[in-house]
């Protein structure tokens, strides 16, 4: 392949919007869960379980984790784009990062619905 610098992948806007949207979701969730914990003040494991037994809290917590992982995907991918120049190595790191984050999402779901 000839060594020419090519740009123009024609994406970026969607990621930029999602990064901002997920940040808002995480911020709102942090305030909400802090308020819930302040009101309920769970001191035992059973009380903690009780808080997360609620379907709404389960849904919101899962939404928080999905937001966190998508947000992390964009941030970590940007780091690979800045610091790792060889395309093959960068692609491998992208795949590994995406795989890890998908795994974490499933893991978060498993933990939440096991509670």
């Amino acid at each position: 392949m000839i060594n020419r610098i090519v740009v123009g992948a024609h994406y970026g806007l969607k990621d930029w919007i999602i990064q901002r949207a997920t940040a808002v979701i995480m911020a709102v969730y942090s305030v909400l869960i802090a308020a819930v914990l302040l009101v309920v003040r769970p001191s035992t494991f059973e009380a903690w379980q009780g808080v997360f037994a609620s379907g709404v809290i389960k849904f919101l917590t899962f939404l928080f984790f999905v937001s966190l992982f998508y947000h992390a995907w964009i941030g970590v991918r940007d780091i690979w784009m800045d610091y790792v120049k060889p395309t093959g190595l960068r692609l491998s790191l992208h795949v590994l990062t995406a795989a890890a984050l998908v795994g974490y999402t499933a893991w978060a779901a498993a933990i939440l619905w096991r509670l």
């Binding site: 740009v7 123009g8 994406y11 919007i17 784009m81 610091y83």
Partner: protein, 236 residues
């Protein structure tokens, strides 16, 4: 104020002679009428004519004498000597290859500038006199067209240091918005397409070094935000 001495620490590098760049301590006597850094540099050049820097208009219009002054990019001709802590540390603009002393190779910078097609694209036959705009539409171009391409902003931008070959940089993006915002231009969609890229536009992480250093007081970050807003309103 009478004659006084100014202390400098200047980045020196002549690739024909020097193995590596070094900092040279040098002082020069200036007159009471010498107020700007460029005045002192002119005196310095008379004392040691091997010191190299670019200059032309000496009044902040040509953008030639951009350099890193005490750690911050700026124009020597617009910087008051009295506002600077001595010794005044002068280095070439960061992130661009040094040709000699304070002179940098701006090729990469102008390549990015040209990549956004910095000219009006309008395929209608030109009217007899001129293409008209309403005063409101013209107002939007204020703070955009004044850029003198001195490169102070782009060379203070970490995103540009990391990806100068792929990120357009604040100067180029300000110019891009200048034509996107121009109601006489007909290539808005193509211009937005050209920038919709994780590198070309979205490497901007709103660090705002560009706003901090612009000698003309312009705000590239705001222009970049407006480009993003237009992309959002086009997409949703």
């Amino acid at each position: 104020m009478s004659k006084r001495m100014v202390q400098f620490s200047i980045y020196r590098y002549d690739p024909d002679k020097d193995d590596a760049p070094y900092m040279q301590d040098i002082s020069v006597e200036i007159e009471a009428t010498d107020r700007k850094l460029l005045d002192a540099l002119t005196k310095l050049k008379a004392k040691d004519d091997t010191i190299s820097y670019r200059r032309s208009c000496r009044e902040g219009v040509c953008g030639s004498d951009a350099m890193n002054i005490n750690g911050k990019n700026g124009l020597a001709c617009l910087t008051d000597i009295d506002s600077l802590k001595q010794p005044i540390v002068l280095r070439p603009l960061p992130g661009l290859p040094v040709i000699r002393d304070l002179i940098v190779d701006m090729t990469q910078f102008f390549k990015q500038y040209h990549s956004i097609k910095p000219y009006l694209i309008n395929n209608d036959p030109p009217p007899e006199r001129e293409r008209l705009q309403s005063p409101e539409d013209r107002e939007e171009l204020n703070g955009l067209y004044e850029c003198i391409l001195c490169a102070c902003c782009s060379t203070s931008c970490p995103s540009f240091w990391w990806n100068p070959d792929k990120f357009v940089g604040p100067a180029g993006l300000l110019a891009a918005y200048r034509f996107i915002a121009d109601t006489r231009d007909q290539a808005t969609n193509e211009r937005l397409d050209n920038l919709e890229d994780p590198y070309r536009l979205f490497r901007c992480h709103t660090i705002m070094n560009c706003v901090d250093v612009c000698p003309k007081g312009l705000n590239p970050t705001k222009a970049i935000g407006k480009i993003k807003d237009m992309m959002v309103s086009r997409a949703v």
